[in-house]
Symmetry: none
Subunit: 241 residues, 2 copies
Amino acid sequence: MRQSAARKTIGQALADLRAEFPDADIKESKVRFLEAEGLVEPERTPSGYRKYSTRDMERLRYIIRMQREHYLPLKVIKEHLDAMDRGLEAPLEGGSPTVPRVVLADGSPGAEAFRAERSDVRISRRELVKTAGITEELLEQLEAYGLVHTRTGSKHYDADAVVIAKAAGELAAFGLEPRHLRAFRTAADREVGLVEQVVAPIRRSREEGARGRADQAIEELAALSVRLHAALVKDGLRSVR
Amino acid sequence: MRQSAARKTIGQALADLRAEFPDADIKESKVRFLEAEGLVEPERTPSGYRKYSTRDMERLRYIIRMQREHYLPLKVIKEHLDAMDRGLEAPLEGGSPTVPRVVLADGSPGAEAFRAERSDVRISRRELVKTAGITEELLEQLEAYGLVHTRTGSKHYDADAVVIAKAAGELAAFGLEPRHLRAFRTAADREVGLVEQVVAPIRRSREEGARGRADQAIEELAALSVRLHAALVKDGLRSVR
DNA sequence: CGTGAACCTCAACTAGCGGTTGAAGGTTGT
DNA sequence: ACAACCTTCAACCGCTAGTTGAGGTTCACG
């Protein structure tokens, strides 16, 4: 019934977008228009049907988010996407130029984050404290709770560490301390475990391309996890409002 | 020719703006247009000539900066100006380097983003199954595990339900069943609890604007939670790859 | 007092953006 | 076989952010 969620026809792609942005009334014509403008380039079947990959879907979601949340014109969004294509990302607002910026810039189900394997960011402890805008003390606690860590076998931190530290810093401003955040770590670990469970058999298969399919699966699972999580939190918060 | 610098005629105002934004080619017609749109309200002399105060000039400069730097549409800029009139801070003005800004919460646009999705989507069970592309059976399980539910006191589902159901459907394609997803629910609940903890005291305060500040806090916390979670998952997955 | 620059209003016009629509036709799944 | 789904292409649309011009008033200076 449900195929590998990977390469969607325009209709399926549209259904996905509508599910994620239910109040936006996105039409086929819009998705095609975005292609005409050079913002997405889905592959085509031999007969000419569009096929949207996970990456294409990420781009579409990014476009819609940027339009809605930041009112950016398409040509600016295109520049961002192009910039993200060749190397690192650049989106929202320039900061200190010395420090690499981190993607997961807003509440996006941050799929693009999972692609950024290329960003071999290496940051010293001092830089981390500075760019994340946190105190030494907070960093120590974050490390104690296993939320932030140096790369295995290194004394340096990576891009994830920056995002985590930054978020933790802002949460601290609300009175949430690292010990409150332990649950996040646990939840994340559990999800990673789930992903492992799914991927292990794929990876073990002796078929050709098993490795690639495993990586693809990891990406999709990660994106889905984050999306599911975000929706559940949002749903749960309805009761708080 | 020489006047008190305070209240400029439109010609003098224009000269000022052109000096500050030499490459913007601002015309009288534009300044008048901005007034017609309610973004500035210069006083008038008895004969009807416009007189721009220092404050009016600041507003004009702000408008031009926002257009150039953030591509904001006039109606959004107007909202910002109105908000600033009622004592709030300039939403998108250059942030202090020490305190990082939360993107999702950057003033009315961000607020709208989260609020917008509370649109009153009402979907029947049949529609949910169809748009999420899942089976009846899966939906039953999702409900049994508390992942998807109708709105309290209603027989209909909302936008969150669609996103959740869809994600669950795609995860099911990977062999992950609702029972595997229970942990997501638990994690989300824990985060909601945390948010509640932070927000409750804000809300209880009898100060003016407490309600608004509480909502603002919820949005920020939600964004931070999702961000933190995503980064932790991504970080955790590094070991799987 | 006259004249010209600077100002006024109001209506009509416009360019560009971000799509939408419809017609005519090809492809695919059951 | 036939519906559901997909394709292209050109024409059309509504909105934003102004611009332009006609016709008239006010101000500053000689």
